[in-house]
Amino acid sequence: MTDQTVKVSSKLEPSSEQQVASEQQASSETLVQIRGLYKKFNISGDFLDQLKFKGGKIVREQEFVHAINGVNLDIQKGEALCVVGESGCGKSTVARTVMGLITPTAGTISYRGERIDDLNDKQLLPYRKKMQMIFQNPYASLNPRMTIGQTLEEPVRLHNPDWSAQQVRDKVHEVMFSVGIDPSWGERFAHEFSGGQRQRISIARALAVDPEFIVADEPISALDVSIQAQVLNLLMDAQEKRNLTYLFITHDLAVVEHFGTRVAVMYLGTLCELATTKTLFAKPRHPYTQALMSAIPRLEDDRPPHIKLQGEVPTPVNLPSGCVFHGRCPYANERCKQEIPQLITTEEGGQVACHGVEEGRL
């Protein structure tokens, strides 16, 4: 590790430091930029539920789930950025915040340099055409009372108000054909299709407005394994043909290896490691990533032993001090308990948030 690549992170503001890191990286075109993203959900109910009687006084107490705690992420044009992590680590919240389904507590989201997180519905409309989302559950993401023809026509009509009925129908037939659904099935309802077919229809709905950026929130985890490969290939075909950029949320590392250009590993609402897929799979740096990688089932005999992490994931209601991973990390020291690690660039070109890596002890 050289001095140039390692940044001393302790005293600097996270945002200013992150900007330096991002400028280095922004050689290719950045499509979506996430800066200092925080999201907390209030779980203490309404005003009357928040009042507690304590020590002879009535006090108002609020509790929050800290779903995202300061995430900085750049999505480059044309890549498939995979976000991995265990359940409840905030991957889906990141995806939904990027799409504007959730408003962030703090931080900004920019699309091609323009801030989009503070826009209202009307101002967002042009961005909706460029950013689309594919959902996890194909059984819930299609309206059961609409035929799939209606489902697919709706976005096309909305975003191309001056098109004739024939143009709309042609567009719908084109996307249905491109995802392998017979256009003559348009008058059928979603419940008449299988899970894989429904997910193809969801993909067709996202593609119908010709987006350039697609957020896919675990699009294959609800599907049968044999169908997963088909849908994944469909997504990769679409990426090639339509020049798409993906933010791909998943917890399946085999999929990441096959699909992702870069990987972001999340733990408890923070980013622990960000690297190209090759680098991350060849040489994971963060102790959490290492444990995650060792959990992939492999056929080889000489695989390294499975790293067993001790304890449970801490609750996101009371975040641990310092590094969120320190309670389960086998290498944690006193500094890890005190100080929140910032992302630093490693010699392999990836970024990792770990004091151990920074100090050179890992």
Binding site: S141, N143, R145, Q228, Q230, N233
Partner: protein, 323 residues
């Protein structure tokens, strides 16, 4: 995971999509209707009532609103199966003013059903709009609207109706009241019962809006109103259907009670309730039929509607089993 599987699905010969009626014949509702004798009987009787109401002017031998067809000499004739005193012209007998009871019941059913259905349409419109907004917007809007509903529910329908109708009658006079009685009844019953709808709709909207198709519609950029009415509302139709049947029955009962209290339809245009009330004075002089026959007609109507509502609820909500 093998990635060599072909991307295109196996081609299947495109079948023609079934039309709405073919789809309906495949539904759970139709199958359980075919099996349920009570539902079939209730539905037949209810359709009988609807036909009676629709074609009352053609079926009725007399026009009960036409004073020239009434003869005071025919008053209080018993049903025609009573051979001593009955007149074969009036098979259910006549009321105190000499009107044919059968014709009056036909017209009365028509009025009762019209008021019931119109009042429920009004309830449903107000309730659905408020329930949708409260459920979809949530937060403060939800709290305010639902507190309104609570306030409205804390007054009983009958009390509100009696107060409003009595004040109206006292301040505008009986003549105007008789002209506007039907509209007033629809308004009062309709407005007094909207919270039933608003609460039911709100509950289903809260469940529906968490589903991903709503998020998908938002990501698409659809407006809130379109999402509420075009995406969420069609998915809350089953509870609306269930409460509607029960609410029509309730509205008919409310109307009959108000008419019985003298605050409903005037005697010149009797509904079932005012007919029951008008015969009440004669019940001890032996003219039981003026009260009992319209009473039976009303009870059967309300009973079949409740049975239909119960059956619909069981069919559309499979999680709810009878104990």
């Amino acid at each position: 995971m093998t990635m060599s599987i072909q991307n295109k699905p196996t081609p299947v010969a495109p079948e023609k999509a079934p039309n709405a009626w073919q789809r309906f014949k495949e539904t759970h509702v139709w199958h359980s209707f075919l099996k349920d004798r009570v539902a079939q009987l209730s539905f037949t009787i209810f359709m009988g009532y609807v036909l009676m109401a629709l074609f009352a002017p053609m079926i009725a031998p007399f026009d009960p609103y036409d004073a020239t067809q009434m003869d005071i000499m025919n008053s209080e004739l018993p049903p025609s199966w009573n051979e001593d005193e009955g007149d074969p012209q009036f098979w259910l007998g006549t009321d105190a003013q000499g009107r044919d009871l059968w014709s009056t019941i036909l017209y009365g059913t028509r009025i009762s059903l019209t008021i019931g259905i119109c009042a429920v349409l009004l309830q449903a419109t107000i309730g659905i709009i408020i329930g949708l907004i409260a459920g979809y917007r949530g937060g403060r809007v939800d709290s305010i609207l639902m507190r309104f509903a609570d306030v409205q529910l804390s007054f009983s329908t009958m009390m509100v109706a009696i107060v409003v109708l009595a004040i109206f009658q006292a301040s505008f006079g009986t003549a105007l009241y008789q002209d506007l009685a039907m509209i007033m009844l629809v308004l009062v019953i309709g407005i007094a019962e909207w919270p039933q709808y608003a609460r039911t709709i709100r509950a289903s909207v809260l469940a529906e809006k968490r589903k991903e198709y709503v998020d998908a519609a938002r990501v698409m950029g659809l407006g809130q109103i379109r999402i509420m009415f075009r995406h969420i509302l069609p998915n809350t139709l089953s509870p609306i259907l269930v409460i509607s049947t029960v609410q029509v029955a309730n509205a008919i009962i409310s109307e009959a009670s108000l008419s019985f209290l003298g605050l409903g339809m005037p005697v010149s245009q009797p509904s079932l309730g005012s007919l029951i009330s008008s015969g009440f004075e004669y019940i001890f002089s032996g003219a039981w039929w003026i009260t009992v026959i319209p009473g039976l007609v009303l009870i059967v109507l309300v009973l079949v509607m409740n049975l239909l509502g119960d059956w619909l609820r069981d069919v559309l909500n499979p999680k709810l089993y009878k104990g």
